[in-house]
């Protein structure tokens, strides 16, 4: 492997560019790393994340696959078991259901069923979430659903910094890891401290400190929640915003620290409310911090409908910052 000549990292870059730089770094760093997925090569990726990588790394390492999710995810699992470090891209989380057998019945069970003889160091990236007016077969948020499964690592980078460095951490992990990239974040720009060269995958982070209410969220809802926190600040309510970053393992400690501090909590999750990760978080708080609570637990979640196409309907189905702020205000200052 040639030592790569990295272009000087710009301080400011888009989430998409951060994802791509992460992939480039991984491909340069380890010859065992290769990419597989639908239209990631010549087309450049459905969301243009992999654009240019085929030219840079060649067809052996940037592999366009047939539209066979089960086959290429299974191939990723087999290759990971046999010594490679595959990164598989699934266009959207909805399509991942075609590979659910491989993810759940193979990637997750084999390390356990084999009594630890085989690890599955596989990374699967996929786009998730609503807001792009692409209706019910391309807009859902099923990451919380995957977080139900022991043995998977579920990452939900929201900040550009996490998009840039979480992949590298995931590749060092011996377990199958699903990285969910929210479709509304790809164009978002953010700053990266040039001094940072890695991030951890296990810890939730407080993105904004506050004493009055904890707003717990992740992924695409993080920025709506931060916006809600600014609105609340104008009302004299200081919200603490916790970015989960990973849904499994879930960083219960950081969640509890924040809730014990503010004593009020709202969980914001654009997935459906019933049986959701928001429900799980709420339950953990109820189990472990019940006596610290000074208000009922609340959730702002996606409406329980298949995502509608019409813009006004889709907007009404997703958590928006007004609703988040209103829910928080109602907890802190009930009328």
């Amino acid at each position: 492997m040639n030592a790569p000549q990295e272009p000087p990292s710009p301080l400011r870059l888009t989430y998409r560019e951060a994802c791509k730089q992460a992939l480039r770094q991984a491909l340069h760093a380890d010859p065992r790393v290769f990419l597989m997925g639908e239209d990631i090569g010549r087309y450049g990726g459905c969301y243009a994340v992999t654009k240019g990588l085929l030219e840079e790394f060649g067809e052996d390492r940037i592999r366009d696959t047939p539209l066979s999710e089960s086959a290429f995810v299974g191939a990723g699992i087999g290759a990971a078991m046999a010594g490679m470090r595959p990164i598989v891209e699934i266009m959207t989380v909805n399509f991942s259901l075609l590979a659910l057998d491989q993810i759940l019945n193979n990637a997750v069970t084999i390390p356990y069923m084999s009594g630890g003889q085989f690890a599955v160091p596989l990374v699967i990236r996929m786009a998730t979430g609503g807001g792009r007016r692409v209706a019910a077969q391309h807009s859902h948020s099923l990451e919380g659903w995957y977080a139900h499964i022991p043995g998977l690592r579920i990452l939900t980078p929201a900040m550009v910094e996490d998009a840039r460095f979480m992949l590298i951490a995931a590749l060092k992990d011996p377990n199958p890891t699903l990285i969910f990239e929210h479709v509304m974040l790809y164009n978002m720009e953010g700053d990266i401290d040039p001094a940072i060269t890695c991030v951890d995958m296990d810890q939730a982070k407080v993105r904004r400190a506050g004493a009055d209410v904890s707003l717990i969220t992740y992924g695409g809802s993080l920025f709506k929640t931060l916006d809600a926190a600014e609105r609340l600040s104008k009302e004299g309510v200081e919200a603490e915003v916790v970015d989960l970053r990973a849904l499994r393992p879930l960083d219960t400690k950081t969640i509890l620290e924040s809730v014990v501090k503010t004593r009020r909590c709202i969980i914001i999750d654009e997935a459906w409310r019933s049986g959701s990760i928001a429900a799980e978080i709420g339950m953990r708080i109820a189990e472990e911090a019940f006596f610290e609570l000074d208000a009922p637990l609340r959730r702002v979640c996606g409406r329980e409908v298949p995502m509608p196409y019409a813009a006004h309907l889709e907007d009404a189905c997703l958590p928006q910052s007004e609703a988040i702020a209103a829910a928080a205000l109602d907890l802190v200052r009930p009328s």
């Binding site: 052996d60 066979s68 087999g78 078991m81 595959p86 390390p111 009594g115 690890a119």
Partner: protein, 328 residues
């Protein structure tokens, strides 16, 4: 290497012994199942021994195996120690998977035995990955991927065949066509019951072989593997075979007649091969009896090893849900 089977005395005895070993091992399993020492499902390979024994003869140590849930025969034929397999059957810590997998999920790292897959068709995509990894890492290995006729009803079968040809992956697909997917007869489930033809629609070369004839299977497998190593193209082997016993243990076999089973039994891989050896004086009188005695002793040792094995402590039940490192 030639695909010609060396029909010398030692090799023929070895083939017979390998098949009898599977048969006797499984007979003991039935006994232990009825004594409730083996629990859950138990899918016997009884009748299909020639397929695994023949194919494994053609494999080399660096080759990989993807097996089905009827994999006792596949694992034994691959050379996995019967003791650790019996330990797994009994759910013991000295089992090949610490008692985590049981009858349907034998894994063995040293033998490159990638399970023990109990989702019909689910093992096929894994074969793509193993073969791809070998190819990308410059290993001259073939992946032998076993599956039953029922797998062809699954989308994963078709996805995998297309993929394997498209990416020219060194995979030997072995369809163990025992004519029934559980109780579903192949002609009731497949519009086209010619599996080699199915493979050819993905431009994969294939051959149908009598899966009750161990020499025929070995010969076909040797030829296929030679081709795969030379071309890095996949190859498809359909082995027509028959299972003499129930799908699993609890099966009234309403879907087939006793006469049909009896007719197939007469063509059984062991009885036929043994008769042929005797007719051609390739085996001495009394030699089989001696062989069976040796195998019974081997199985008894396996059972004793398994019975003596400790149970994994419950406190370790969450171990390997997530791995701390990648086994070297």
């Amino acid at each position: 290497m030639t695909h010609k089977v060396h029909l010398d005395h030692d090799h023929l005895r070895h083939l017979l012994k390998a098949m009898i070993r599977i048969r006797r091992f499984e007979a003991k399993c039935v006994e232990l199942y009825q004594a409730q020492k083996i629990l859950g499902f138990l899918h016997l390979y009884d009748g299909e021994e020639a397929v695994s024994v023949g194919v494994m003869e053609a494999l080399e140590p660096q080759d990989a195996v993807i097996a089905t849930y009827r994999e006792h025969g596949q694992a034994l034929a691959r050379g996995v120690d019967p003791g650790c397999l019996m330990g797994e059957m009994l759910g013991k810590l000295n089992g090949c998977c610490r008692g985590r997998g049981g009858s349907m999920h034998f894994f063995h790292r040293e033998h490159r035995f990638y399970g023990g897959n109990a989702i019909v068709g689910g093992g096929l995509p894994l074969a793509l990955g193993v073969a791809l990894a070998d190819k990308m890492q410059g290993r001259r290995a073939v992946t032998a991927c076993f599956f039953g006729d029922g797998a062809a009803e699954e989308g994963e079968f078709h996805e995998t065949l297309n993929f394997a040809k498209l990416w020219r992956l060194p995979i030997l697909f072995i369809c163990e066509n025992n004519l029934y997917a559980m109780g579903m007869a192949v002609e009731r489930a497949e519009a086209d019951t010619d599996f080699v033809h199915k493979a050819s629609s993905y431009r994969i070369e294939g051959e149908r072989v009598d899966g009750m004839d161990v020499v025929a299977v070995e010969s076909a497998a040797r030829k296929a593997i030679e081709k795969i190593r030379a071309t890095s193209d996949p190859f498809f082997l359909e082995c027509r075979t028959y299972r003499f016993r129930a799908h699993s243990m609890f099966d009234a076999q309403l879907y087939r007649s006793k006469e049909e089973v009896e007719a197939w039994r007469k063509k059984g891989p062991i009885v036929r091969f043994q008769a042929w050896l005797e007719e051609n004086h390739l085996i001495k009188p009394g030699e089989v009896l001696e062989m069976e005695k040796a195998i019974d002793a081997e199985v008894a040792r396996a059972v004793a090893f398994a019975e003596a094995g400790p149970l994994e402590p419950v406190s370790d039940v969450e171990r390997f849900v997530t791995m701390e490192d990648i086994p070297a």
